[in-house]
């Protein structure tokens, strides 16, 4: 199966660590993905609040390029991207009139038969647990890891059709494969404040603070995510939150791909773990025999 890869803007910018680590583990797993040529913005939070047709047309163009290029499956690691691609695909599948309108404006056919995977679906469904397990060279035993899912991976459940929308476990299963211990806590899908980070940082700090302190209370060493915006709120805002609530957190926030990479024996530097705001080296020292830090 030919696998298309839709990076979206985050993986090329603020969350470059996500792309670096993803490509690195795919290389180790010997899985080839091809970046969709001439891809454009998925629309994310802006388009669907302004123009419905545009919010469908933007992701549809990316999907159509991939489909016409002979791809059957697309990987969208960013949770917002996969959410938008799936939503557009769902609307095109269920609304023939809209489909005609959109494909006419794209001047491209689109059959809407593409399988769209978020990062976790891709790892569990396309790569497979067995293959991942067989690649684990450095089990991360002794490490307690909390998986934070956020909202976009699981909601709306009717369209995402992914895991239990209120109590997802897929990422915890991946964590367990690395040899680390998954930590259960109460705010797995609670809102992190998302894009309000720019307009209402106080709201974001309150919401993200709730999540981080709950994770801390449940004894986790670090947090894994599969969403660039979640990552940015949990990682970048952490120092401010600590100052605001006058309580230390010190929770490194890694992408799931980085955690897998570590267990595959890839160095933190090659996974770009040094690119985060909350340094992970103190926590990573807990892992025995991990290749040299930075």
């Amino acid at each position: 199966m030919k696998l298309a890869y839709y990076p979206g803007c985050s993986l090329k910018g603020t969350s470059f660590e996500y792309e670096v680590s993803l490509l690195k583990i795919l290389e180790t797993l010997n899985i080839e993905v091809k970046e969709i040529p001439d891809w454009n913005c998925c629309g994310a939070s802006a388009a669907h609040s302004i123009n419905h047709n545009l919010s469908v047309a933007l992701p549809a163009r990316n999907l159509a390029i991939a489909e016409n290029g002979g791809y059957e499956s697309v990987l969208a690691p960013c949770a917002a991207c996969s959410n938008r691609l799936k939503s557009a695909d769902y609307e095109l599948k269920t609304d023939d009139i809209l489909k005609k309108k959109i494909t006419d404006s794209l001047e491209m056919p689109y059959k809407a038969e593409m399988s769209i995977n978020n990062m976790l679906e891709f790892l569990i469904g396309v790569v497979g647990k067995d293959k991942i397990k067989s690649m684990v060279k450095k089990p991360l035993s002794g490490l307690k890891v909390a998986s934070y899912y956020g909202c976009l991976l699981v909601r709306p459940p009717k369209i995402m059709k992914f895991d239990d929308p209120e109590n997802p476990v897929t990422m915890d299963e991946l964590v367990a494969l690395t040899g680390a211990e998954p930590v259960d806590y109460s705010f797995k899908t609670e809102c992190c404040g998302a894009i309000n980070s720019l307009s209402k940082p106080d709201v974001v700090m309150a919401l993200t603070g709730n999540i981080l302190y709950d994770i801390k209370k449940h004894g986790a060493d670090l947090v894994v995510v599969a969403c660039p915006l979640c990552h940015s709120n949990l990682d970048v805002r952490q120092r401010e939150i600590e100052r605001k609530y006058d309580e230390k957190l010190g929770l490194p926030v890694l992408f799931i791909t980085e955690l897998l990479g570590l267990s595959f024996g890839i160095t933190p530097k090659d996974l770009a773990i040094d690119g985060h705001m909350v340094a992970a080296d103190r926590v990573l020292k807990k892992i025995e025999g991990l290749p040299n830090q930075q």
Partner: protein, 660 residues
């Protein structure tokens, strides 16, 4: 030569306001074979019926057409009137010019033309009518009640008190159903088991009731008056007639850990040999072979046998099949509570102190796991704050079911009230969508829970429940104040939705009765035949039909019983003669009719010559089951089936009358 009378009814202005009734009469008089045509203000009135009878006599009529209201209204009235003059009642036909013409059209001229057409069609039909005799089916005057909850017990007692034998079959080791699990009942706070146990005992001791507990109906065939029933009596491993219910056996059983008590909804443990609860009827234990050491470890353990005085434990007992023939059946299989696993956000199953309403009933109950002292499952402490969440699964088309479970508003009010009575100074919160308290005394009951017992009612849904430092944090919305609320509770009680008993759809298929998309049995008519199923001789009672409370279940049990007693007051059951008949000469025995028949009315019939040699196989219609729906007529390739009163030649003649 046909001598037809046509009677055009005005129905006051109901018909005459839109249809020119005189014109219809004039047109009728012109049709060959019509010897009398009349219009009258109210044909159904006494003078109307009398004129009908007089004309039958005077003109020696061979058939009658009434251009009037729907046959559902007065077909029977006119058939009876005709029969009194010696005419076969099936020689009365109705042209419906009210519901199908005057009530649905405005243009008088065109409405009149349509009324004339319908009248003409019926004249052609009645000309070709043949006399039809009603079918009489003999009745076995014995009833079967499936399900021994309050509805089934009430039905069984009422039938038995009417002097008719009843077989009561219950799947569980004891009768009593869900009601015996409840603590106190709303709105009177009667102790549920105090009012239930006398009924259970009465059912057990009634000379007309044969009770089969720990038994299931395996197979049902036949039809009204003559149902053949196979009942599987599961091996109890205890000889019922010798058992005294002393309890030595279950006290001796070494398996007293890790087997969850079904009766206490997993809040306590039971032994392998057990009675579900102390007031069980019959008070005879059941040995659960799936967990018993004797069966799991090759016969080594027999501590219960050793302890038993009368030696009534028999490890070799086998399942038994009992066959019975009954004339009528009550299906009262009850309900289950919805599994709340789709509400991951409420943490049921994850947090020990998030429990269901039925579990709270057991905690309240004096015979429950905490002997009526309110203690929470996690650490046995008495909670000071409880949050009750209503509509968990009910009224939620996204995750649960769209319908209202009806009893939750009331039992939640009762829970909050009893909590306030038992734990002084405590506080309860109730999240609700609407309060539905529509029966006698219900609204006052809910009000007093709010006003006297201090329960705080919050209109809104709960979005999340999580644990934080020993408290359950309940996050929700109060839509009346427009605020988000967060309550730190010691325990949370979920009012989980009501769904049909597991397996009730299978039973419905076995019985040949219809059920809705949720699995609730559907009544023959939602307003006018609420106790009858879609199949003659099978009646419905209790929650198996849909959510209802105890008084309604009792009423429905009694209703089913009175229907059966009414049925059994005659020796034969009369079935309308308009049923399917097979032309055996042309039937090719393809049995396509059998496949389309929804009522299992078609069977194979072997025709043999005098020497007993098989000549041919044909389809045969069971008059007790056939409803005359006509599905088989359409399915028959060789045109060998017709429904009496709706023969092909009649239908063609009607169409022709319309075409001319």
């Amino acid at each position: 030569m046909a001598r037809i009378g046509v009677f055009v009814c005005w129905c006051g202005s109901n018909i005459a306001g839109t249809v020119d009734v005189e014109k219809v009469r004039e047109e009728a008089a012109k049709i060959p074979g019509v010897v009398s045509a009349l219009d009258y203000k109210y044909m159904c009135s006494d003078p109307g019926q009398n004129s009908l009878r007089n004309i039958i006599k005077e003109k020696n009529l061979t058939g009658i057409v009434l251009a009037a209201c729907s046959p559902h209204m007065h077909e029977n009235t006119f058939r009876k009137a005709a029969a009194k003059e010696g005419l076969n009642p099936y020689f009365v036909e109705i042209a419906n010019i009210r519901e199908q013409v005057s009530w649905v059209h405005e243009d008088k001229e065109r409405a009149t033309a349509k009324a004339v057409d319908l009248m003409k069609m019926m004249v052609e039909k009645v000309k070709r009518d043949k006399p039809i005799e009603d079918v009489r089916v003999p009745l076995n005057k014995k009833a079967l009640v499936i399900g021994g909850g309050i509805a089934g017990i009430q039905a069984a007692l009422d039938i038995a008190n009417g002097g008719v034998e009843v077989i009561l079959v219950e799947k569980e080791p004891s009768i009593g159903g869900k009601m015996i699990q409840l603590d106190e009942t709303f709105p009177t706070l009667d102790c549920s088991s105090c009012i239930m146990t006398p009924k259970m005992v009465e059912a057990n001791q009634h000379p007309n009731i044969k009770l089969y507990t720990y038994s299931e109906v395996e197979d049902i065939s036949g039809y009204i008056g003559n149902f053949k029933v196979k009942i599987k009596k599961k091996a109890r491993s205890v000889v019922e007639k010798d058992c005294t219910g002393c309890g030595e056996c279950w006290n001796a059983c070494p398996m007293h850990k890790n087997i969850k008590s079904e009766f206490n909804v997993n809040l306590s443990e039971r032994t392998a040999i057990y009675v579900p609860f102390p007031q069980a009827v019959p008070l005879v234990p059941v040995l659960d072979r799936s967990v018993c050491l004797h069966f799991k470890k090759g016969g080594k353990c027999q501590k219960c046998y050793d302890a038993c005085g009368p030696k009534c434990i028999n490890f070799d007992l086998q399942d038994e099949i009992i066959e019975e023939t009954v004339g009528a059946i009550v299906a009262s299989t009850g309900y289950d509570l919805m599994d709340t696993s789709m509400y991951g956000e409420y943490g049921y199953g994850k947090y020990k102190d998030v429990i269901s309403g039925l579990q709270f009933e057991r905690i309240l109950s004096a015979s429950g796991p905490t002997e009526g002292v309110i203690k929470r499952p996690s650490d046995g402490k008495t909670p000071q704050t409880i949050v009750f969440v209503q509509c968990v699964g009910s009224r939620d088309p996204e995750k649960g079911v769209p319908y209202c479970s009806k009893v939750c508003c009331m039992y939640t009010a009762k829970h909050a009230k009893l909590f306030a009575h038992k734990v002084h100074g405590s506080q309860s919160y109730v999240f609700y969508i609407d309060i539905r308290s529509t029966s006698k005394g219900y609204e006052e009951f809910v009000r007093s829970t709010m006003e006297q017992d201090g329960a705080i009612y919050l209109r809104g849904r709960v979005s999340k429940i999580y644990e934080d430092e020993g408290k359950l944090i309940v996050k929700g919305a109060d839509t009346l104040s427009g605020n988000q609320v967060e309550i730190a509770a010691d325990m949370v009680v979920l009012a989980t939705g009501v769904i049909p008993k597991k397996g009730s759809d299978k039973l419905a298929q076995m019985l040949g009765i219809s059920y809705d998309k949720y699995g609730f049995f559907t009544e023959s008519h939602p307003k006018l035949r609420p106790a009858e199923s879609s199949t003659a001789g099978i009646f419905l009672a209790g929650m198996a039909q849909g959510p209802r409370d105890i008084p309604e279940s009792v009423v429905s049990g009694s209703a089913a019983a009175s229907k059966i007693l009414g049925l059994f007051s005659k020796n034969e059951y009369e079935v309308e003669g308009t049923i399917a008949g097979v032309n055996e000469a042309t039937c090719v025995a393809c049995f396509y009719c059998q496949r389309v028949c929804a009522y299992n009315a078609i069977s194979r019939k072997e025709i043999k010559d005098r020497s007993g040699k098989l000549v041919k196989v044909v389809a045969n219609v069971n008059p007790g089951l056939c409803t005359g729906c006509g599905a088989c007529v359409n399915a028959c390739f060789s045109k060998s089936i017709d429904v009496k009163g709706f023969m092909d030649d009649q239908i063609y003649a009607e169409i022709k009358a319309l075409a001319i």
